[in-house]
Symmetry: C2
Subunit: 208 residues, 2 copies
């Protein structure tokens, strides 16, 4: 076991440094965020920095950088207020990764990266072939002044699922995780544990 | 594919509702957060809501609820300013899950859940047997007024790793993901893609 100080890891070669820092935030579900701009052009971008903020109402957060590849997404969400999160499977990852390229404002990643859009009454495009999709409404953009990033908080208004939502698990509809910007992993169910109590050992539960 | 409105999923039976909502934030790396209180009692708690806020400096965020099982963690971080993130493997998950039980302030989850602590000069306990550990200093607590949760922002000051940090990947030191509160998954490397460009298809890279 080796201990590395900030001074040590700051000196790493650029690629090694990126590799290391990308590990810090762990495995994540990659999702495609679907939006539309004021000219009606659909946008799709891969994100993995999605997290739970609250269950009632159902707030979901993500972090957006001000001037990175996600800038169209942030701009569209601010203006249009609605967006979609689309979960993925391994076989969709190559096209999903391609959405991280820098396309022009008048180009749609749906077309460029071979995804079909799908609409409900919500004014934002879903990914037709995603097995699990969430429709969100923007609630707040919180500025993180420390480094100029933004925390986007949305409320889930709609769920579209290929499986019934009773006795549901994420593994029923998605089997991929990502770490950093480019490494994708397959995810397989292993164990589910009971609610932990201080006076007894946790026990195994049925997975679903 | 079925479409469910907020009205539909609000009517689900309690357990089904929890199952569904826990899917919204995707697969995550479970980590143990190590802290110490002002009486010197060590605390350890499992979290999965960890995310990237910035690379330079290396800011890592997590969401804490005000009055949940993580209350000792938040209180300790606010007072002591230093804490550790300890990544896990599948074989450590049962004991790690046990840390989510409600222990008293004078009880240490290190003792109760069979983890040994490890110290550097940083005044917070690491998990000895974790293959990848980060030492953090609190930079800011941002209140999310929408629902009373907190965004804790810390800077990574120290990395402790069982593998050299050159040509590093998270799969070298951790193989587990979690969804929701109780479902654990094994994570296996599948594919790594090149930086995406709008004028060409992405290509496969060596995984490390």
């Amino acid at each position: 076991m080796k201990v590395y100080s900030k001074n040590d890891f700051s000196k790493l070669e650029k690629r090694d440094k990126a590799n290391l820092f990308n590990c810090f935030h762990g495995f994540k579900s990659p999702v495609l965020i679907g939006t539309k701009n004021s000219e009606g052009v659909e946008n799709l971008a891969i994100f993995s920095n999605i997290f739970h903020i609250g269950a009632n109402p159902h707030f979901i957060g993500f972090i957006s950088r001000p001037d990175s590849v996600d800038r169209h997404t942030l701009e569209n969400i601010r203006k249009q207020k609605f967006y979609t999160l689309n979960f993925l499977n391994i076989d969709q990852i190559k096209n999903a990764h391609q959405t991280s390229a820098r396309y022009e404002k008048n180009q749609s990643e749906f077309t460029e990266c071979s995804f079909d859009s799908y609409y409900t009454l919500l004014p934002a495009p879903y990914v037709l072939d995603s097995n699990f999709k969430l429709g969100l409404e923007l609630k707040e953009v919180i500025d993180i002044k420390l480094n100029g990033t933004h925390l986007i908080v949305g409320e889930c208004l709609e769920v579209i699922s290929s499986k019934d939502i009773e006795s549901f698990g994420l593994h029923d509809v998605s089997n991929v995780a990502v770490n950093g910007l480019d490494r994708y992993y397959k995810v397989d169910p292993i164990v589910r544990f009971s609610y932990a109590k201080s006076d007894r050992e946790v026990s195994r539960l049925d997975f679903n």
